[in-house]
């Protein structure tokens, strides 16, 4: 019994309107910012501001777009909205450190917007500095050369390394706050949809956001879970749905100008791919491990094939991690660089070109956001499917299964 989902004309129209609105909004935000002049502190354009660490308000200093781009895709101890240095409008986030003397908590406003290890935060008798969003225990004296409270050491290979102790950092950083926000949004959305299912049942026509989400949920459940995992797909559908929606919502959030780049953070994607790895390893049946340790090839080749198969267990989730991280981060860097062109050339004439390109890339990024969520979920479903594949249902890896595989059964 299949419940056909009614993707009526109105649903498609609503989706098209939302899509156009989001892309227009992004383009509008950029176009608006290029009307202002660019002397010193300009409003944040897609997160770009002439952020010169050494020249406070020098309009002639060259703008380092790479530094600005990386500042926007990397994590941070404060949520920066706009402005630079002491005019910066930002929300300081809690810093939680585990030092040898125990847990230390303070607000990152103790650093007074400094990212260069020049301001020392004194807490409970311990002194810390913030160097490019890494927190170290401050040196007693500022460094003679640069005025930073850090001690550098150069080894024989002319590589400099920081000698200061780095306590374990459990802070609530920008990405952590973003994770809380997106988790809250997901919980609110889905519990409300679940409530309307409970109240109205599954056979009445869906209304509002339920109709939009239902398309996606049924798609993940039927095409991805059941299609790739087969009968046991129901067991894994909650995980697949979670992965799909959390990646989708964080990708979309990342495209909004003043937001955090969570899916472009390799630690986040690492955790998701570790979950996938755990699922495949702990749900692997005899078939699966049989294919790895006793592959279907002449025994002479086993000496090469078995290590390759074992490494393959790890490379597949690794590829998942890198693919999502790189796609999203690269997209953000491109958008920031395109808008940053305006600041680099310091001329309004480049603005139509830059905003046009950036708008195009922005729309492409919306596509990439949805596509990457889909690809991650699809590949996870495929890996889980191959781990639980039981071709003839008897739980034994024997010749019956091989015949079914050879005939092309899933």
């Amino acid at each position: 019994m299949v419940n056909k989902i009614n993707t009526s004309g109105t649903n498609k129209l609503v989706l098209a309107i939302i899509f156009t609105f989001i892309s227009f909004l992004n383009g509008f935000a950029q176009a608006h910012e290029t009307d202002t002049t660019h002397h010193g502190a300009v409003g944040h354009v897609e997160g770009v501001a002439p952020h010169d660490a050494h020249n406070e308000h020098n309009p002639d200093a060259p703008v380092d777009i790479a530094k600005i781009a990386f500042e926007h895709i990397l994590d941070s101890h404060s949520w920066h909205f706009w402005g630079e240095h002491n005019d910066a409008v930002s929300v300081p986030l809690p810093v939680i450190l585990k030092t040898e003397n125990g847990l230390v908590m303070f607000s990152s406003s103790a650093f007074h917007h400094d990212h260069d290890a020049k301001v020392v935060a004194e807490v409970n008798g311990q002194r810390f500095v913030n160097f490019n969003e890494d927190i170290y225990v401050a040196s007693a004296q500022p460094n003679g050369l640069t005025g930073q409270y850090l001690t550098f050491a150069t080894n024989e290979k002319k590589e400099t390394a920081i000698q200061n102790v780095k306590p374990l950092d459990f802070s609530i950083t920008k990405n952590v706050v973003q994770l809380f926000i997106s988790a809250l949004v997901l919980i609110l959305l889905f519990t409300s949809v679940a409530r309307s299912y409970k109240k109205h049942g599954v056979t009445t026509a869906p209304k509002g956001k339920q109709s939009f989400l239902e398309i996606l949920i049924v798609f993940v459940r039927d095409d991805l879970a059941k299609g790739n995992i087969g009968a046991r797909g129901e067991k894994f559908t909650p995980y697949l749905l979670t992965v799909f929606f959390i990646i989708l919502i964080n990708n979309i959030f990342g495209l909004i100008p003043i937001s955090a780049n969570l899916t472009g953070n390799i630690a986040f994607t690492l955790v998701l791919s570790v979950f996938t790895l755990m699922l495949t390893v702990f749900n692997g049946n005899k078939n699966y491990w049989g294919h790895i340790f006793t592959p279907h090839a002449p025994k002479a080749l086993w000496i090469i094939l078995i290590p390759i198969e074992i490494i393959g267990i790890f490379t597949k989730p690794f590829a998942l991690m890198i693919r999502l991280f790189a796609n999203i981060s690269a997209g953000h860097i491109i958008i920031i660089s395109l808008v940053g062109l305006i600041f680099m050339f310091k001329s309004l004439l480049i603005a139509p070109v830059a905003v046009g390109f950036a708008l195009f890339i922005d729309v492409l990024e919306v596509l990439v956001a949805v596509l990457q969520a889909y690809i991650f979920t699809l590949l996870t479903a495929l890996f889980i499917g191959s781990a639980v594949a039981d071709h003839n249902g008897d739980g034994q890896h024997d010749s019956d299964d091989e015949k079914l595989v050879a005939e092309g059964h899933h």
Binding site: A319, I322, R323, F325, A326, N327, Q372, Y374, I375
Partner: protein
């Protein structure tokens, strides 16, 4: 020489992506021309293959940008 040479690696990886995705798109167009009623399935498959190829190219970009 301006900038670092590691970014040349990123550019080369992107050439690979360009060729790969271009091939995928071209074959998809041929397939749709041959059988227009299958264009939905073909487009979906094309997008998936393109995302996978792009993933590989981005490995190269990430490695070249690491240090």
């Amino acid at each position: 020489m301006v900038g670092s040479i590691s970014v040349v690696g990123a550019g080369l990886a992107v050439i690979g992506a360009g060729i790969g995705i271009g091939q995928i798109g071209g074959h998809a167009m041929d397939a749709i021309a041959r059988q227009p009623e299958a264009s939905g399935k073909i487009t979906t498959t094309m997008l998936i293959a393109a995302a996978l190829v792009e993933g590989v190219a981005l490995f190269g970009v990430v490695v070249s940008l690491i240090k």
